[in-house]
């Protein structure tokens, strides 16, 4: 009993939830309890998006050192445009639009993998160059595009029932699925194995390259999906829609207790970290601090978390 208690306390993701709660309390205390519920439900709704992008980034980072997807923002921007164009403001085409967005994201993911594999370049540079290209495709494809999302789709992404965002509930279910995918399927186990020790994974008969390809494709697909959903939430596509998610996606993965060195992913932590970051921004907003302070605090929090999580250099 005590041992299991200790094990729970030792989980790094727990701190992000505690942090989120503390920050929320701090914000509520400042407003004198005014808007406590609203803050929470708005926060949860926004956090859901970070969770989806964070999941994409988490899978890629879990593949091991050096793996990271920098093309997610560009991917999301393009996917939001694709989704809105395909839907064309018509509720009947919502599903088709979502599929198109996911397909666009998957294509980018596969392109990323091919660059890494064929050009033998580090993922950071491959996804970076891909993001340049995708950004341009997005700009030229989405030029002058001001398509509103279909009303039904927009409602679906924003509607709240009893203060609870429906989107968020769906994303919670999605997270449970991702948790199962990670821990209870051959694919998830293979990703974790490769991230811990790619050589050992190969020698344990894991098809390393196939899993890598699948992971980048999955990351791209989730990025595409999130882009489309954001377009619904913000009432229209925009190529900049994903911009802030480059840093957020990496931040929620790191704060959420996923190992930056790969091999260990944490889905629960993504929620804690996303809530924490959203709540932090909410709190700073209620305090009325400037955007500068918000960014400064976010940056320092990320550094503090990684410094705490990192171990000292092993002297030899």
């Amino acid at each position: 009993m005590i041992a299991s208690m200790r094990r729970v306390i030792a989980q790094p993701w727990l701190y992000s939830f505690v942090g989120a709660a503390l920050v929320w309390i701090a914000a509520v205390t400042y407003t004198g309890g005014y808007g406590a519920g609203g803050m929470l439900s708005a926060g949860i709704a926004l956090a859901a998006f970070s969770v989806i992008v964070g999941t994409a980034q988490m899978f890629v980072i879990t593949l091991g050192p050096g793996n990271v997807d920098l093309s997610l923002p560009a991917n999301m921007g393009l996917a939001s445009a694709v989704a809105m164009k395909v839907m064309g403001g018509c509720d009947a085409l919502v599903l088709v639009g979502l599929v198109a967005a996911i397909a666009s994201g998957t294509t980018i993911g596969i392109a990323n993998y091919l660059l890494i594999r064929l050009l033998r370049i580090p993922p950071i540079i491959a996804t970076l160059s891909a993001s340049f290209v995708v950004q341009s495709i997005g700009i030229s494809y989405g030029r002058g595009l001001q398509v509103k999302p279909p009303p039904g789709f927009a409602t679906a992404t924003t509607v709240q029932i009893a203060g609870v965002s429906v989107m968020a509930v769906v994303v919670v279910v999605f997270s449970v699925g991702i948790g199962l995918l990670l821990h209870r399927t051959t694919f998830g186990r293979s990703v974790a194995a490769i991230g811990q020790n790619a050589r050992a994974a190969r020698l344990a008969n894991i098809p390393v390259e196939r899993i890598r390809a699948l992971t980048y494709a999955l990351g791209g697909a989730l990025g595409g999906l999130c882009g489309a959903l954001l377009a619904g939430y913000f009432q229209g596509s925009s190529l900049d829609i994903g911009n802030e998610y480059l840093l957020t996606s990496i931040a929620v993965v790191v704060i959420g207790g996923t190992s930056v060195a790969g091999g260990r992913a944490n889905v629960t932590g993504l929620w804690g970290a996303s809530l924490f970051l959203v709540m932090l921004l909410t709190m700073l907003n209620t305090y009325g601090v400037s955007a500068g302070v918000r960014l400064l605090v976010t940056g320092l929090v990320i550094i503090a978390v990684i410094v705490t999580a990192g171990g000292p250099r092993i002297a030899r």
Binding site: L180, R184, T185, T186, R189, S190, A192, A193, Q196, N197, R199, A200, A201, L203, A204, N205, I206, S259, G263, R264
Partner: protein, 498 residues
């Protein structure tokens, strides 16, 4: 030959007494004494894992021993490390190259010499290293401005050796050469040994580690033989010959301590008709010999470490998992890694997960993996291979090295593999673990599994039906079960081209 040396205190360059060093459960050095005199070239030999390299790292100051007394000219040093070694003029040519591949030859010389600075350092560094290369290897054809990474391994080794002998401010008194000729051809090797003799005559000392007994016999003044972390024999080189060295390394007293496992004759006979499961030619083999293994056979791969055994296992592994087409290999292969940290263990996982990773496909119930099935497999093998842990869901790193190795065995043996490759899996494993595993291997082989077993431990070869001895990437001998003996294996692995 020089007259019998009198080891007066002043002629001793450095003296280590009672050196002990353990890595986890493995005792690499169990109380070693070693003294090197001026004007002396000491040959250090021993089988793999005897502790030679560890001892040299201690001497060079790159490894802190658990216990040791270091004395110089009769005075005991309180602290000994990199700085002290450098001041004393002790240099080491390590087995793993310690050059920076992205720098030029001259720049690499600069890294070792803080004094090479200021205007014209590049030219001075170049002259320093090139003149030393000229001295040791007169026809080296190495340019000072060549990038080291672009040079073939032999030239890199030459630079590394020459660099150890260069002098700016700190003196050079003792140079340790750890397998210096492993990537040199015969011509350059003989140049090196001639140079060593000249330097020793001029007052320098050196320690030479080599598996080439001929080099030891022709170059050194004194031989030290190590085995299992201890010095077993030492004496003037003139009192040894090849056979004596081989016997000393093998430790003849060990003979017969381990009872031969009685081979079921019937099984052996049946094996010769069993279907061939592995047929593979080593990459460096030019005489048409190839490695054959039949279902139910335990085939040993012997010889000195790094002579192509692991490469062959990896070739078989790749062929078996469809990555390469060379050779014929029956399907379903599993590998038991010897280097647990780099090739085997998934450090963040539990014992059960580490065992189950090779059998994930069998755990599938519908879409998801069944945790119960994984636990069941883990529990079965905890019992069969005697993994000592209260809970198979504990992290793998909570186990001792030997039990981690058992988990790796369980991973392979618990899988559906018909051929199991073992890459010197008992490296640094305690005897209890070994005995637990040996029986299991016999049992599994009788059940029809093929084992390819690379081992550097002589005793283990007795468990094999047939043994291939490797040297320089190719098979140099094939011994049937009754022919396997320590002398024959060592003789074959030390066989030197005339």
């Amino acid at each position: 030959m020089r007259p019998e040396r009198v080891m007066s205190q002043h002629s001793v360059v450095i003296e280590l007494t009672g050196t002990e060093k353990s890595f986890g459960a493995v005792r690499a050095l169990a109380g070693v004494d070693l003294a090197v005199a001026m004007h002396e070239c000491v040959g250090l030999i021993g089988h793999n894992g005897a502790g030679k390299s560890t001892l040299m790292h201690v001497l060079a100051g790159t490894l802190t021993p658990d216990k040791a007394t270091v004395a110089v000219k009769g005075e005991t040093l309180k602290r000994y490390g990199l700085v002290a070694a450098h001041r004393l003029g002790i240099r080491c040519v390590f087995q793993e190259l310690s050059l920076c591949p992205n720098l030029t030859v001259a720049e690499n010389a600069r890294i070792l010499h803080p004094a090479l600075r200021g205007f014209g350092w590049r030219r001075r560094a170049g002259e320093l290293i090139i003149s030393k290369l000229d001295e040791i290897f007169p026809d080296h054809r190495i340019a000072a401005d060549a990038i080291v990474g672009d040079l073939p391994i032999g030239k890199r080794q030459m630079i590394e050796i020459a660099r150890a002998f260069t002098v700016t401010t700190a003196p050079v008194n003792l140079v340790i050469l750890d397998e210096p000729t492993s990537s040199l051809d015969g011509h350059t090797a003989s140049q090196l040994f001639a140079f060593l003799r000249r330097s020793v005559k001029a007052g320098m000392s050196c320690i030479l580690i080599s598996h080439m007994l001929r080099e030891i016999l022709s170059t050194t003044d004194r031989v030290v033989v190590m085995r299992d972390g201890r010095v077993v024999t030492a004496g003037p080189t003139s009192s040894f010959d090849r056979n004596k060295l081989v016997v000393a390394m093998g430790g003849a007293e060990h003979h017969g301590t381990q009872a031969d496992t009685p081979a079921p004759l019937a099984a052996a006979a049946a094996a010769s008709e069993a279907p061939i499961t592995v047929r593979m030619k080593p990459k460096g083999q030019h005489d048409g010999r190839e490695l054959l293994a039949r279902a139910g056979e335990i085939v040993g791969l012997a010889g000195l470490a790094g002579h192509g055994q692991t490469d062959l296992l990896l070739a078989v592994f790749d062929a078996g998992s469809g990555r390469a087409k060379k050779g014929a290999v029956a399907d379903r292969i599993a590998l038991v890694a010897g280097d647990r940290q780099t090739d085997g263990v998934f450090p963040l996982w539990s014992i059960a997960e580490n065992i189950g990773v090779r059998s994930l496909a069998r755990f599938r119930k519908g879409v998801l993996l069944s945790v119960e099935a994984e636990d069941a497999l883990a529990a079965r093998w905890k019992e069969r291979i005697k993994i000592r842990t209260p809970d198979m869901r504990n992290p793998i790193l909570s186990l001792s090295g030997g039990n981690q190795q058992k988990a790796l065995f369980a991973r392979a043996l618990g899988s559906d593999a018909t051929t199991v490759l073992m890459d010197d899996p008992m490296r640094g494993v305690d005897i209890g673990t070994k005995l637990d595993v040996y029986d299991l291997i016999q049992e599994e082989a009788q059940g029809g599994r093929t084992f390819l077993w690379y081992t550097t431990e002589m005793d283990e070869l007795r468990h094999c039906d047939r043994v291939y001895v490797f040297r320089n990437g190719s098979i140099v001998a094939e011994l049937a079960r009754h022919e396997v003996s320590e002398e024959r294996v060592i003789a074959a692995s030390f066989a030197e081209a005339a």
